[in-house]
Protein backbone atom coordinates (compact mmCIF):
# COMPACT_ATOMS: atom_id res chain seq x y z
CA UNK A 1 0.00 0.00 0.00
CA UNK A 2 2.92 2.34 0.86
CA UNK A 3 4.40 1.97 -2.61
CA UNK A 4 1.07 2.81 -4.21
CA UNK A 5 0.82 6.03 -2.20
CA UNK A 6 4.35 7.03 -3.08
CA UNK A 7 3.64 6.42 -6.76
CA UNK A 8 0.51 8.54 -6.50
CA UNK A 9 2.54 11.38 -4.99
CA UNK A 10 5.13 11.10 -7.76
CA UNK A 11 2.42 11.14 -10.42
CA UNK A 12 0.85 14.18 -8.78
CA UNK A 13 4.01 16.27 -8.78
CA UNK A 14 5.07 15.14 -12.25
CA UNK A 15 1.69 16.19 -13.66
CA UNK A 16 1.78 19.51 -11.79
CA UNK A 17 5.29 20.04 -13.10
CA UNK A 18 4.21 19.38 -16.69
CA UNK A 19 1.27 21.77 -16.30
CA UNK A 20 3.38 24.59 -14.88
CA UNK A 21 6.14 24.10 -17.45
CA UNK A 22 3.72 24.00 -20.38
CA UNK A 23 1.64 26.99 -19.29
CA UNK A 24 4.75 28.87 -18.22
CA UNK A 25 6.29 28.56 -21.67
CA UNK A 26 3.12 28.89 -23.73
CA UNK A 27 1.26 31.59 -21.78
CA UNK A 28 3.52 33.37 -19.32
CA UNK A 29 6.68 33.68 -21.41
CA UNK A 30 4.95 35.58 -24.27
CA UNK A 31 3.62 38.11 -21.73
CA UNK A 32 7.04 38.51 -20.16
CA UNK A 33 8.78 38.94 -23.51
CA UNK A 34 6.35 41.72 -24.48
CA UNK A 35 6.93 43.63 -21.24
CA UNK A 36 10.71 43.15 -21.27
CA UNK A 37 11.09 44.21 -24.90
CA UNK A 38 8.77 47.16 -24.41
CA UNK A 39 11.04 48.66 -21.76
CA UNK A 40 14.34 47.61 -23.32
CA UNK A 41 14.93 51.11 -24.63
CA UNK A 42 14.11 52.72 -21.29
CA UNK A 43 11.07 54.61 -20.08
CA UNK A 44 11.58 57.50 -22.49
CA UNK A 45 11.53 55.27 -25.58
CA UNK A 46 8.46 53.49 -24.19
CA UNK A 47 6.61 56.74 -23.58
CA UNK A 48 7.44 58.16 -26.98
CA UNK A 49 6.12 54.99 -28.64
CA UNK A 50 2.93 54.97 -26.61
CA UNK A 51 2.30 58.70 -26.88
CA UNK A 52 2.98 58.70 -30.62
CA UNK A 53 0.28 60.45 -32.61
CA UNK A 54 -0.51 57.41 -34.74
CA UNK A 55 -0.68 55.16 -31.70
CA UNK A 56 -3.20 57.44 -30.03
CA UNK A 57 -5.31 57.66 -33.18
CA UNK A 58 -5.23 53.87 -33.50
CA UNK A 59 -6.25 53.55 -29.86
CA UNK A 60 -9.17 55.94 -30.37
CA UNK A 61 -10.39 54.03 -33.43
CA UNK A 62 -10.10 50.75 -31.53
CA UNK A 63 -12.12 52.21 -28.67
CA UNK A 64 -14.76 53.53 -31.07
CA UNK A 65 -15.20 50.16 -32.78
CA UNK A 66 -15.20 48.34 -29.46
CA UNK A 67 -17.82 50.63 -27.95
CA UNK A 68 -20.13 50.20 -30.96
CA UNK A 69 -19.73 46.42 -30.90
CA UNK A 70 -20.32 46.13 -27.17
CA UNK A 71 -23.43 48.33 -27.15
CA UNK A 72 -25.02 46.65 -30.16
CA UNK A 73 -24.16 43.14 -29.07
CA UNK A 74 -25.42 43.76 -25.55
CA UNK A 75 -28.79 44.89 -26.89
CA UNK A 76 -28.85 41.91 -29.22
CA UNK A 77 -27.70 39.49 -26.54
CA UNK A 78 -30.44 40.54 -24.12
CA UNK A 79 -33.26 40.33 -26.66
CA UNK A 80 -31.99 37.14 -28.27
CA UNK A 81 -31.47 35.22 -25.05
CA UNK A 82 -34.86 36.39 -23.73
CA UNK A 83 -36.57 35.24 -26.92
CA UNK A 84 -34.75 31.92 -27.06
CA UNK A 85 -35.14 30.91 -23.42
CA UNK A 86 -38.53 32.30 -22.38
CA UNK A 87 -40.61 31.35 -25.40
CA UNK A 88 -41.19 28.32 -27.58
CA UNK A 89 -41.28 28.80 -31.29
CA UNK A 90 -40.51 26.99 -34.51
CA UNK A 91 -37.02 27.03 -36.02
CA UNK A 92 -35.47 27.87 -32.65
CA UNK A 93 -32.59 25.48 -33.24
CA UNK A 94 -31.78 27.13 -36.57
CA UNK A 95 -31.85 30.56 -34.96
CA UNK A 96 -29.40 29.60 -32.21
CA UNK A 97 -27.10 27.99 -34.76
CA UNK A 98 -27.17 31.14 -36.89
CA UNK A 99 -26.32 33.28 -33.87
CA UNK A 100 -23.24 31.14 -33.25
CA UNK A 101 -22.04 31.19 -36.87
CA UNK A 102 -19.67 34.19 -36.46
CA UNK A 103 -17.42 32.36 -34.01
CA UNK A 104 -16.96 29.39 -36.32
CA UNK A 105 -16.22 31.49 -39.38
CA UNK A 106 -12.61 32.42 -40.04
CA UNK A 107 -12.02 36.14 -39.37
CA UNK A 108 -10.75 36.46 -42.94
CA UNK A 109 -14.09 35.23 -44.27
CA UNK A 110 -15.83 37.64 -41.90
CA UNK A 111 -13.95 40.46 -43.57
CA UNK A 112 -14.53 39.07 -47.05
CA UNK A 113 -18.33 38.89 -46.76
CA UNK A 114 -18.53 42.59 -45.96
CA UNK A 115 -16.26 43.40 -48.89
CA UNK A 116 -18.58 41.43 -51.14
CA UNK A 117 -21.64 43.10 -49.63
CA UNK A 118 -20.47 46.72 -49.73
CA UNK A 119 -17.43 46.71 -52.02
CA UNK A 120 -16.94 47.88 -55.56
CA UNK A 121 -18.66 44.87 -57.13
CA UNK A 122 -21.76 44.99 -54.98
CA UNK A 123 -25.10 46.33 -56.17
CA UNK A 124 -25.15 48.46 -53.05
CA UNK A 125 -21.90 50.21 -54.03
CA UNK A 126 -23.35 52.80 -56.43
CA UNK A 127 -26.15 53.57 -54.06
CA UNK A 128 -23.80 54.04 -51.10
CA UNK A 129 -21.52 56.17 -53.23
CA UNK A 130 -24.43 58.42 -54.12
CA UNK A 131 -25.04 59.17 -50.47
CA UNK A 132 -21.29 59.47 -49.78
CA UNK A 133 -20.91 56.51 -47.46
CA UNK A 134 -17.75 54.49 -47.71
CA UNK A 135 -17.83 51.16 -45.88
CA UNK A 136 -14.96 49.11 -47.24
CA UNK A 137 -11.46 50.36 -46.37
CA UNK A 138 -13.06 52.86 -44.02
CA UNK A 139 -14.21 53.15 -40.42
CA UNK A 140 -17.75 51.74 -40.91
CA UNK A 141 -16.28 48.54 -42.32
CA UNK A 142 -14.00 48.17 -39.31
CA UNK A 143 -16.95 48.65 -36.97
CA UNK A 144 -19.09 46.15 -38.90
CA UNK A 145 -16.32 43.54 -38.83
CA UNK A 146 -15.88 44.02 -35.10
CA UNK A 147 -19.61 43.64 -34.50
CA UNK A 148 -19.68 40.47 -36.59
CA UNK A 149 -16.83 38.64 -34.86
CA UNK A 150 -18.15 39.42 -31.37
CA UNK A 151 -21.82 38.97 -32.30
CA UNK A 152 -22.71 35.95 -30.12
CA UNK A 153 -20.39 36.74 -27.20
CA UNK A 154 -23.07 38.09 -24.86
CA UNK A 155 -26.00 35.87 -25.81
CA UNK A 156 -23.71 32.86 -25.35
CA UNK A 157 -23.11 33.79 -21.71
CA UNK A 158 -26.76 34.59 -21.05
CA UNK A 159 -28.58 31.69 -22.71
CA UNK A 160 -27.28 28.88 -20.44
CA UNK A 161 -28.01 30.89 -17.28
CA UNK A 162 -31.52 31.85 -18.40
CA UNK A 163 -32.18 28.32 -19.57
CA UNK A 164 -31.22 26.94 -16.17
CA UNK A 165 -33.41 29.51 -14.40
CA UNK A 166 -36.46 28.41 -16.37
CA UNK A 167 -39.51 30.57 -16.96
CA UNK A 168 -41.79 29.78 -14.02
CA UNK A 169 -40.99 33.03 -12.21
CA UNK A 170 -41.66 35.14 -15.29
CA UNK A 171 -44.92 33.31 -15.98
CA UNK A 172 -46.09 33.82 -12.39
CA UNK A 173 -45.29 37.51 -12.62
CA UNK A 174 -47.09 37.81 -15.95
CA UNK A 175 -50.18 36.11 -14.54
CA UNK A 176 -50.15 38.62 -11.69
CA UNK A 177 -50.28 41.37 -14.27
CA UNK A 178 -46.71 42.62 -14.51
CA UNK A 179 -45.72 44.07 -17.88
CA UNK A 180 -42.74 42.91 -19.94
CA UNK A 181 -40.32 45.59 -18.82
CA UNK A 182 -41.12 45.04 -15.13
CA UNK A 183 -40.70 41.30 -15.52
CA UNK A 184 -37.34 41.72 -17.18
CA UNK A 185 -36.10 44.34 -14.72
CA UNK A 186 -37.32 42.72 -11.50
CA UNK A 187 -37.08 39.00 -12.27
CA UNK A 188 -34.87 38.13 -15.21
CA UNK A 189 -32.17 40.76 -14.81
CA UNK A 190 -31.11 39.98 -11.21
CA UNK A 191 -30.38 36.40 -12.29
CA UNK A 192 -28.21 37.33 -15.23
CA UNK A 193 -26.37 40.45 -14.13
CA UNK A 194 -22.99 38.78 -13.46
CA UNK A 195 -23.18 36.69 -16.62
CA UNK A 196 -24.05 39.84 -18.55
CA UNK A 197 -21.10 41.71 -17.10
CA UNK A 198 -18.82 38.79 -17.92
CA UNK A 199 -20.15 38.66 -21.47
CA UNK A 200 -19.48 42.38 -21.86
CA UNK A 201 -15.92 41.91 -20.60
CA UNK A 202 -15.30 39.07 -23.06
CA UNK A 203 -16.86 41.03 -25.90
CA UNK A 204 -14.66 44.03 -25.10
CA UNK A 205 -11.54 41.88 -25.05
CA UNK A 206 -12.25 40.25 -28.38
CA UNK A 207 -13.39 43.49 -30.01
CA UNK A 208 -10.23 45.34 -29.01
CA UNK A 209 -7.99 42.55 -30.21
CA UNK A 210 -9.70 41.58 -33.47
CA UNK A 211 -7.13 41.42 -36.21
CA UNK A 212 -8.02 39.28 -39.21
CA UNK A 213 -11.45 40.63 -40.10
CA UNK A 214 -10.44 44.21 -39.43
CA UNK A 215 -7.28 43.72 -41.43
CA UNK A 216 -9.31 42.73 -44.50
CA UNK A 217 -11.62 45.73 -44.26
CA UNK A 218 -9.13 48.35 -43.22
CA UNK A 219 -7.27 50.21 -45.93
CA UNK A 220 -4.27 50.26 -43.57
CA UNK A 221 -4.17 54.01 -43.72
CA UNK A 222 -2.03 55.16 -40.86
CA UNK A 223 -3.90 57.52 -38.59
CA UNK A 224 -7.20 56.91 -40.42
CA UNK A 225 -8.18 53.26 -40.57
CA UNK A 226 -5.57 51.65 -38.37
CA UNK A 227 -6.66 49.96 -35.18
CA UNK A 228 -4.24 49.14 -32.38
CA UNK A 229 -3.53 45.53 -33.47
CA UNK A 230 -3.01 46.65 -37.09
CA UNK A 231 -0.70 49.41 -35.91
CA UNK A 232 1.33 46.83 -34.01
CA UNK A 233 1.61 44.68 -37.13
CA UNK A 234 2.95 47.58 -39.19
CA UNK A 235 5.52 48.48 -36.53
CA UNK A 236 6.65 44.86 -36.23
CA UNK A 237 7.00 44.41 -39.98
CA UNK A 238 9.09 47.58 -40.11
CA UNK A 239 11.40 45.99 -37.52
CA UNK A 240 10.51 48.71 -35.01
CA UNK A 241 10.50 46.17 -32.21
CA UNK A 242 10.56 48.51 -29.22
CA UNK A 243 7.54 50.57 -30.34
CA UNK A 244 5.70 47.39 -31.45
CA UNK A 245 6.15 45.77 -28.07
CA UNK A 246 5.46 49.03 -26.22
CA UNK A 247 2.08 49.37 -27.92
CA UNK A 248 1.43 45.65 -27.34
CA UNK A 249 2.08 46.12 -23.65
CA UNK A 250 -1.08 48.26 -23.44
CA UNK A 251 -3.06 45.29 -24.73
CA UNK A 252 -1.19 42.86 -22.46
CA UNK A 253 -2.06 44.91 -19.38
CA UNK A 254 -5.66 45.02 -20.59
CA UNK A 255 -5.71 41.24 -21.06
CA UNK A 256 -4.43 40.69 -17.52
CA UNK A 257 -7.04 43.12 -16.20
CA UNK A 258 -9.75 41.20 -18.05
CA UNK A 259 -8.59 37.89 -16.57
CA UNK A 260 -8.68 39.34 -13.06
CA UNK A 261 -12.17 40.77 -13.61
CA UNK A 262 -13.27 37.43 -14.99
CA UNK A 263 -12.17 35.43 -11.95
CA UNK A 264 -13.72 38.00 -9.59
CA UNK A 265 -17.01 37.89 -11.50
CA UNK A 266 -16.99 34.13 -11.61
CA UNK A 267 -16.54 33.70 -7.86
CA UNK A 268 -19.18 36.42 -7.28
CA UNK A 269 -21.64 34.62 -9.52
CA UNK A 270 -20.93 31.29 -7.85
CA UNK A 271 -21.41 32.71 -4.35
CA UNK A 272 -24.72 34.28 -5.27
CA UNK A 273 -25.85 31.12 -7.00
CA UNK A 274 -25.12 29.05 -3.91
CA UNK A 275 -26.80 31.42 -1.43
Amino acid sequence: MKKEERNAAITKWVLIGITILFLGIMLLLPLIVVLVQAFRGGIAAYMSAVADEYTIRALLLTLEATLCAVILNTIFGLFASFAVTKFDFKWKKILTTLIDVPVTVSPIIAGLIFILLFGRRSILYEWLKAIHIKVVFAVPGIILATIFVTFPFISRELIPIMEAQGKDEEEAAALMGANGWTIFRRITFPHIKWALLYGIVLCTARAMGEFGAVSVLSGHLRGRTNTLPLHIEILFNEFQYIPAFAVSSILVVLAIFILVVRSVLESRGKKEYES
Binding site: E4, K12, T19, I20, L23, I25, M26, L27, L28, L29, P30, L31, V33, Q37, L72, F76, F79, A80, F82, A83, K86, F87, L95, I99, V101, T104, S106, P107, I108, I109, L112, I113, I115, L116, L117, I147, F151, K167, E170, A174, I183, L202, M208, G209, E210, F211, G212, V216, L228, P229, E233, Y241, S248, V252, L254, A255, L259, V260, R262, S263
Partner: protein, 275 residues
Protein backbone atom coordinates in the same frame (compact mmCIF):
# COMPACT_ATOMS: atom_id res chain seq x y z
CA UNK B 1 -53.59 24.89 -32.03
CA UNK B 2 -51.78 28.10 -31.23
CA UNK B 3 -50.40 27.98 -27.74
CA UNK B 4 -50.98 31.16 -25.77
CA UNK B 5 -47.81 32.79 -24.56
CA UNK B 6 -48.04 33.94 -20.97
CA UNK B 7 -44.95 36.12 -20.78
CA UNK B 8 -45.26 39.40 -22.69
CA UNK B 9 -42.59 40.73 -25.02
CA UNK B 10 -42.28 37.87 -27.52
CA UNK B 11 -42.95 40.02 -30.56
CA UNK B 12 -40.43 42.67 -29.60
CA UNK B 13 -37.61 40.36 -28.59
CA UNK B 14 -37.95 37.99 -31.53
CA UNK B 15 -38.30 40.99 -33.86
CA UNK B 16 -35.07 42.61 -32.66
CA UNK B 17 -33.28 39.25 -32.71
CA UNK B 18 -34.32 38.30 -36.23
CA UNK B 19 -33.59 41.75 -37.63
CA UNK B 20 -30.08 41.80 -36.24
CA UNK B 21 -29.31 38.20 -37.18
CA UNK B 22 -30.46 38.94 -40.73
CA UNK B 23 -28.37 42.06 -41.14
CA UNK B 24 -25.20 40.92 -39.40
CA UNK B 25 -25.09 37.22 -40.28
CA UNK B 26 -27.65 36.03 -42.80
CA UNK B 27 -27.45 38.65 -45.55
CA UNK B 28 -23.63 38.86 -45.61
CA UNK B 29 -23.33 35.06 -45.76
CA UNK B 30 -25.98 34.86 -48.45
CA UNK B 31 -23.98 37.44 -50.35
CA UNK B 32 -20.94 35.14 -50.26
CA UNK B 33 -23.02 32.27 -51.66
CA UNK B 34 -24.46 34.48 -54.38
CA UNK B 35 -20.98 35.50 -55.42
CA UNK B 36 -19.94 31.87 -55.67
CA UNK B 37 -22.87 31.06 -57.95
CA UNK B 38 -21.47 33.60 -60.42
CA UNK B 39 -18.72 31.06 -61.10
CA UNK B 40 -19.35 27.99 -63.22
CA UNK B 41 -18.66 24.63 -61.62
CA UNK B 42 -15.62 24.17 -63.84
CA UNK B 43 -14.15 27.51 -62.80
CA UNK B 44 -14.83 26.77 -59.15
CA UNK B 45 -13.06 23.41 -59.33
CA UNK B 46 -10.18 24.92 -61.29
CA UNK B 47 -9.64 27.55 -58.56
CA UNK B 48 -9.76 25.24 -55.58
CA UNK B 49 -7.57 22.54 -57.13
CA UNK B 50 -4.68 24.84 -57.98
CA UNK B 51 -1.51 23.41 -56.51
CA UNK B 52 -0.87 26.37 -54.23
CA UNK B 53 -4.44 26.33 -52.91
CA UNK B 54 -4.40 22.59 -52.26
CA UNK B 55 -1.07 22.95 -50.48
CA UNK B 56 -2.54 25.65 -48.24
CA UNK B 57 -5.53 23.43 -47.39
CA UNK B 58 -3.12 20.67 -46.47
CA UNK B 59 -0.98 22.96 -44.29
CA UNK B 60 -4.09 24.34 -42.55
CA UNK B 61 -5.60 20.93 -41.85
CA UNK B 62 -2.34 19.30 -40.81
CA UNK B 63 -1.18 22.03 -38.43
CA UNK B 64 -4.67 22.45 -36.92
CA UNK B 65 -4.92 18.70 -36.38
CA UNK B 66 -1.51 18.32 -34.74
CA UNK B 67 -2.03 21.41 -32.58
CA UNK B 68 -5.45 20.21 -31.41
CA UNK B 69 -4.02 16.78 -30.66
CA UNK B 70 -1.31 18.36 -28.49
CA UNK B 71 -4.00 20.47 -26.86
CA UNK B 72 -6.16 17.42 -26.19
CA UNK B 73 -3.33 15.68 -24.33
CA UNK B 74 -2.11 18.78 -22.48
CA UNK B 75 -5.66 19.98 -21.83
CA UNK B 76 -6.54 16.65 -20.24
CA UNK B 77 -3.46 16.83 -17.97
CA UNK B 78 -4.12 20.47 -17.03
CA UNK B 79 -7.80 19.87 -16.31
CA UNK B 80 -6.89 16.83 -14.20
CA UNK B 81 -4.30 18.80 -12.22
CA UNK B 82 -6.70 21.69 -11.65
CA UNK B 83 -9.57 19.47 -10.50
CA UNK B 84 -7.83 16.73 -8.54
CA UNK B 85 -4.81 18.32 -6.89
CA UNK B 86 -4.23 21.11 -4.39
CA UNK B 87 -1.02 23.08 -4.67
CA UNK B 88 0.13 26.68 -4.17
CA UNK B 89 -0.61 28.96 -7.12
CA UNK B 90 -3.46 26.81 -8.43
CA UNK B 91 -5.91 29.73 -8.52
CA UNK B 92 -3.52 31.80 -10.64
CA UNK B 93 -2.98 28.95 -13.10
CA UNK B 94 -6.72 28.42 -13.35
CA UNK B 95 -7.20 32.11 -14.11
CA UNK B 96 -4.43 32.09 -16.71
CA UNK B 97 -6.09 29.46 -18.90
CA UNK B 98 -8.33 32.03 -20.59
CA UNK B 99 -5.40 34.25 -21.58
CA UNK B 100 -5.61 33.24 -25.25
CA UNK B 101 -9.18 34.61 -25.29
CA UNK B 102 -8.18 37.87 -23.65
CA UNK B 103 -4.91 38.57 -25.44
CA UNK B 104 -5.22 39.88 -29.00
CA UNK B 105 -4.00 37.23 -31.41
CA UNK B 106 -1.66 39.67 -33.13
CA UNK B 107 0.16 40.37 -29.87
CA UNK B 108 0.39 36.66 -29.12
CA UNK B 109 1.67 35.89 -32.59
CA UNK B 110 4.28 38.60 -32.41
CA UNK B 111 5.51 37.57 -28.96
CA UNK B 112 5.69 33.89 -29.94
CA UNK B 113 7.59 34.76 -33.11
CA UNK B 114 10.08 36.81 -31.16
CA UNK B 115 10.52 33.99 -28.63
CA UNK B 116 10.93 31.17 -31.12
CA UNK B 117 13.06 32.88 -33.76
CA UNK B 118 16.56 31.42 -33.98
CA UNK B 119 17.97 34.20 -31.83
CA UNK B 120 14.99 34.30 -29.42
CA UNK B 121 14.91 33.00 -25.83
CA UNK B 122 13.32 29.67 -26.71
CA UNK B 123 14.32 29.45 -30.37
CA UNK B 124 18.04 29.67 -29.59
CA UNK B 125 17.81 26.56 -27.40
CA UNK B 126 16.30 24.57 -30.27
CA UNK B 127 18.43 26.14 -32.98
CA UNK B 128 21.49 24.51 -31.39
CA UNK B 129 20.02 21.14 -32.37
CA UNK B 130 19.14 22.36 -35.81
CA UNK B 131 15.44 22.72 -35.05
CA UNK B 132 13.88 25.92 -36.32
CA UNK B 133 10.50 26.92 -34.95
CA UNK B 134 9.57 30.36 -36.22
CA UNK B 135 8.91 30.57 -39.98
CA UNK B 136 8.31 26.79 -40.25
CA UNK B 137 5.27 24.55 -39.82
CA UNK B 138 6.38 23.90 -36.24
CA UNK B 139 5.94 27.62 -35.63
CA UNK B 140 2.38 27.50 -36.98
CA UNK B 141 1.63 24.59 -34.65
CA UNK B 142 3.05 26.52 -31.67
CA UNK B 143 0.79 29.49 -32.44
CA UNK B 144 -2.25 27.22 -32.84
CA UNK B 145 -1.50 25.39 -29.59
CA UNK B 146 -1.53 28.78 -27.86
CA UNK B 147 -4.87 29.67 -29.42
CA UNK B 148 -6.48 26.32 -28.57
CA UNK B 149 -5.44 25.81 -24.93
CA UNK B 150 -8.65 27.03 -23.24
CA UNK B 151 -11.00 24.95 -25.38
CA UNK B 152 -10.00 21.50 -24.13
CA UNK B 153 -9.33 22.52 -20.52
CA UNK B 154 -12.67 24.28 -20.17
CA UNK B 155 -14.53 21.39 -21.81
CA UNK B 156 -13.03 18.66 -19.64
CA UNK B 157 -12.86 20.51 -16.31
CA UNK B 158 -16.60 20.57 -15.45
CA UNK B 159 -17.02 16.88 -16.36
CA UNK B 160 -14.12 15.85 -14.13
CA UNK B 161 -15.59 17.95 -11.33
CA UNK B 162 -19.01 16.30 -11.59
CA UNK B 163 -17.68 12.76 -11.93
CA UNK B 164 -19.33 10.52 -9.36
CA UNK B 165 -16.51 9.38 -7.01
CA UNK B 166 -18.40 6.22 -5.99
CA UNK B 167 -17.34 4.33 -9.15
CA UNK B 168 -13.69 5.06 -8.47
CA UNK B 169 -14.11 4.05 -4.85
CA UNK B 170 -15.83 0.84 -5.89
CA UNK B 171 -13.02 0.05 -8.32
CA UNK B 172 -10.47 0.83 -5.61
CA UNK B 173 -12.20 -1.40 -3.09
CA UNK B 174 -12.21 -4.17 -5.68
CA UNK B 175 -8.45 -3.81 -5.81
CA UNK B 176 -7.89 -1.97 -9.09
CA UNK B 177 -4.65 -0.03 -9.44
CA UNK B 178 -4.80 3.73 -9.82
CA UNK B 179 -3.69 3.67 -13.45
CA UNK B 180 -6.27 1.01 -14.22
CA UNK B 181 -8.99 3.05 -12.50
CA UNK B 182 -8.04 6.04 -14.62
CA UNK B 183 -8.07 4.22 -17.95
CA UNK B 184 -11.07 1.98 -17.27
CA UNK B 185 -13.34 4.18 -15.13
CA UNK B 186 -12.48 7.85 -15.52
CA UNK B 187 -11.16 8.11 -19.06
CA UNK B 188 -14.23 6.63 -20.81
CA UNK B 189 -16.42 9.16 -18.98
CA UNK B 190 -14.25 12.08 -20.08
CA UNK B 191 -13.55 10.90 -23.63
CA UNK B 192 -16.67 12.42 -25.30
CA UNK B 193 -16.02 15.87 -23.83
CA UNK B 194 -12.36 15.53 -24.68
CA UNK B 195 -13.50 15.00 -28.24
CA UNK B 196 -15.75 18.07 -28.06
CA UNK B 197 -12.86 20.17 -26.78
CA UNK B 198 -10.67 18.82 -29.56
CA UNK B 199 -13.32 19.68 -32.14
CA UNK B 200 -13.77 23.22 -30.84
CA UNK B 201 -10.03 23.83 -30.84
CA UNK B 202 -9.70 22.28 -34.31
CA UNK B 203 -12.46 24.47 -35.71
CA UNK B 204 -10.91 27.57 -34.23
CA UNK B 205 -7.42 26.66 -35.47
CA UNK B 206 -8.61 26.10 -39.04
CA UNK B 207 -9.71 29.70 -39.37
CA UNK B 208 -7.03 31.30 -37.23
CA UNK B 209 -5.17 34.13 -38.89
CA UNK B 210 -3.79 36.77 -36.51
CA UNK B 211 -1.35 34.70 -34.52
CA UNK B 212 -0.21 32.62 -37.50
CA UNK B 213 0.72 35.35 -40.01
CA UNK B 214 3.58 36.55 -37.84
CA UNK B 215 5.14 33.18 -37.10
CA UNK B 216 4.48 31.33 -40.34
CA UNK B 217 6.79 33.19 -42.67
CA UNK B 218 4.10 32.59 -45.30
CA UNK B 219 6.12 30.69 -47.89
CA UNK B 220 3.86 29.26 -50.60
CA UNK B 221 3.56 25.43 -50.47
CA UNK B 222 5.44 25.40 -47.16
CA UNK B 223 3.90 27.59 -44.49
CA UNK B 224 1.00 29.28 -46.26
CA UNK B 225 -2.35 28.57 -44.56
CA UNK B 226 -5.70 28.79 -46.35
CA UNK B 227 -6.85 32.09 -44.72
CA UNK B 228 -3.60 33.64 -45.91
CA UNK B 229 -4.23 32.61 -49.50
CA UNK B 230 -7.66 34.28 -49.28
CA UNK B 231 -6.00 37.41 -47.92
CA UNK B 232 -3.43 37.55 -50.71
CA UNK B 233 -6.13 36.97 -53.35
CA UNK B 234 -8.06 39.89 -51.85
CA UNK B 235 -5.01 42.11 -52.06
CA UNK B 236 -4.75 41.20 -55.76
CA UNK B 237 -8.47 42.06 -56.10
CA UNK B 238 -9.02 38.49 -57.32
CA UNK B 239 -12.42 38.22 -55.60
CA UNK B 240 -13.46 35.08 -57.52
CA UNK B 241 -10.64 32.99 -56.10
CA UNK B 242 -11.02 34.47 -52.62
CA UNK B 243 -14.72 33.63 -52.57
CA UNK B 244 -14.27 30.11 -53.90
CA UNK B 245 -11.55 29.24 -51.38
CA UNK B 246 -13.59 30.82 -48.59
CA UNK B 247 -16.57 28.65 -49.46
CA UNK B 248 -14.47 25.52 -49.06
CA UNK B 249 -13.21 26.77 -45.68
CA UNK B 250 -16.75 27.60 -44.65
CA UNK B 251 -18.03 24.14 -45.58
CA UNK B 252 -15.22 22.46 -43.65
CA UNK B 253 -15.95 24.69 -40.62
CA UNK B 254 -19.63 23.75 -40.73
CA UNK B 255 -18.85 20.04 -41.02
CA UNK B 256 -16.60 20.26 -37.95
CA UNK B 257 -19.31 22.19 -36.10
CA UNK B 258 -21.98 19.70 -37.13
CA UNK B 259 -20.01 16.64 -36.01
CA UNK B 260 -19.24 18.39 -32.75
CA UNK B 261 -22.89 19.22 -32.11
CA UNK B 262 -23.87 15.62 -32.79
CA UNK B 263 -21.32 14.34 -30.27
CA UNK B 264 -22.48 16.94 -27.78
CA UNK B 265 -26.14 16.03 -28.24
CA UNK B 266 -25.28 12.37 -27.68
CA UNK B 267 -23.33 13.26 -24.53
CA UNK B 268 -26.23 15.28 -23.19
CA UNK B 269 -28.58 12.37 -23.85
CA UNK B 270 -26.31 9.96 -21.96
CA UNK B 271 -25.87 12.40 -19.09
CA UNK B 272 -29.58 13.17 -18.79
CA UNK B 273 -30.51 9.54 -19.24
CA UNK B 274 -28.39 8.69 -16.23
CA UNK B 275 -30.45 10.90 -13.95
Amino acid sequence: MKQKRVIPGFGLSIGVTLTMVSFIVLIPLACLLMNVTKLSIGEFIEIITRKRVLASFYVSLMTAFVASLINAVMGMIIAWVLVRYEFPGKKIIDGMIELPFALPTAVAGMALTYLTADEGWVGSLFARFGIHIAYTRIGIIVALVFVGIPFVVRAVQPVLEKLDPSYEEAAGVLGAKRSRIFWKVIFPEVLPTLFTGFGLAFGRCLGEYGSVVFIAGNKPYETEIAPLVVMSKLQEFDYESATAISLVMLVVAFVVLFINNMVQARNAKILNGGN
